[in-house]
Subunit: 366 residues, 2 copies
Amino acid sequence: MKTVSKKISFADSLTLQSGQILSGFEIMTETYGELNPDKTNAVLVCHAFSGNHHAAGIKDGEKKPGWWDEIIGDGKTIDTEKFFVVSLNNLGGCHGSSGPTSISSESGQPYGANFPEISVSDWVEAQKLLADHFEINCWEMVAGGSLGGMQALQWTISYPERVKKAAIIAASSKISTQNIALNEVAREIIRKDEDFHNGNYLAKGRSPKKGLKAARMLGHITYLSESNMRERFGRKLQDPENKMDADVNYEVENYLQYKGEQFAKTFDANSYILMTKAMDSFDPAKDFDNDLVKCLQNVKARLLIASFNSDWLFPKEYGLEIQMSAIKAGIDSAYIELEGDYGHDSFLFYSDQYADALKNFLNSNG
Amino acid sequence: MKTVSKKISFADSLTLQSGQILSGFEIMTETYGELNPDKTNAVLVCHAFSGNHHAAGIKDGEKKPGWWDEIIGDGKTIDTEKFFVVSLNNLGGCHGSSGPTSISSESGQPYGANFPEISVSDWVEAQKLLADHFEINCWEMVAGGSLGGMQALQWTISYPERVKKAAIIAASSKISTQNIALNEVAREIIRKDEDFHNGNYLAKGRSPKKGLKAARMLGHITYLSESNMRERFGRKLQDPENKMDADVNYEVENYLQYKGEQFAKTFDANSYILMTKAMDSFDPAKDFDNDLVKCLQNVKARLLIASFNSDWLFPKEYGLEIQMSAIKAGIDSAYIELEGDYGHDSFLFYSDQYADALKNFLNSNG
């Protein structure tokens, strides 16, 4: 699989949904496969909350493959022998694209908490400039799970002529009150870490790792299903020699401690806050009298909407809501409820049913 | 309603399940109604995680009634004109009974993190001594919701001859892996508060209020149902003048901020940790080859097991598991699934269905 990692600079300023202006920015990208001469075989994959541009393959010196490696590759569901797959780290992220850890040209300091508020629409705007950069006039497919699925949906609304198919997986047209509440708890934990310093911790050489860790532990519970946790850990006690923390009793506690700690090493707290706020505020129907049918009226893309039966963070009702609205709006769309062993995280993993649906959707004409 | 609040001292030492010994302790109690001459009209109500001895009525100078005020009172479901209701703050609590905020007679300092580990069985032992104190040989009913329901269940196992009826509401015979995980996140948040000082914050004149607040915000989400939050708050934005925190956008965030802050003012962090650990470790079947049927074999009490349809923390499967085991063990038991608007917290509120079931159960002979 031909893989190219590249940071791309955009000199033009980007007016954000908030009204703030980003005067020039960088986007970290990774592409898989080759763009055909007609530039008609391009697939955009959008990452979820904690993902980044590294979607497939294993990088030198790393053990973990990209976040959608089970789906993207030569001969895989999104076949890189046939398609040119574009992946990127979103604006506001912390893996190479302009974000809170970048140096502001104005202050010469890291943006920190001063990085502007970013919305899902803003991500689509930046991705549109990326499409222009690659001279891709129309994506064969835009796909993503969770927050990535929201971007896929927003693409069909923002640029109806520039996306043929959209795969909206484990996502919703707006998150629930409960999800906003859970995101707020995560933010509260981070903000109240003594090392947060109102978001300007980098300038002080600090990082609110304790807060990030606990926030991720919470997030992790919501990504897994109750049954998955039960089958995997049950009420097994942690073997005393391998305790992450002296207070840990059960294996599941130790697992979360470990996952949280690993995450806190590589993620930025301001990005965490920014991404959760983007998720909270996503609600494309808001500009259409809160009517999702009206909002989808001009969509030209065909939609594949998929939910997982074990996902309690974005349960099937949300997928069905998009499907019902798409039907009412007269859009070519299909909804599928998939079995997934991993709760919300199921969208990351291969299963025959899931791959069949996605592969046939991508390869179909119509 | 005759109400008596009283702190009762026990001079004898109590050997705890952990093997540690508590050399004398105090229990804060509140009783409603009057004990009949035969001492056969006594009802013990056990509080849930954050409850205390104040179960009914409104205290002078306070606005909020006791936690089960909708159920307990003259002419109410648990009728204090007929029954003598005993309520208490459990050992390890922070509302008058011996707990981490009490002064250790050995060190002359608050126990803090050195207060011994307490289990649900230990609570039942202390409550048994309380029954002896009141010369109550057999409770007409032991009742409680959530962690309180676990105590009611433990009573039937520990002292089969001393409880006639047990109402086990919104509870389980052991909590799920997911619940342990959520409890661990709450503990992690508290432990990593800079003011926690390994649990010895009182000796330093500090309190980890920030951690307690965030832990409670998380807890609060799990006590309410998704639909209740949606109907009550939806995606309404918070009016800017009444924001608890400048970063708050939505009403639901503000509500949680408020609830968390109020809680942190009155609760003790070590009690929070102790109570969640007691909840995690509750698993009476463990001593019976993990066989709940065997565990219930000697139970003599009649059981009323109730779950609420909107409760996702202790869903009905857990109530049904107790009921199935009770049937197999040949115990007189009834299971009812109730409609509740408030998720797990539904057990705190009156509804006709709920009150009917509980009242008839309490007043029946058999």
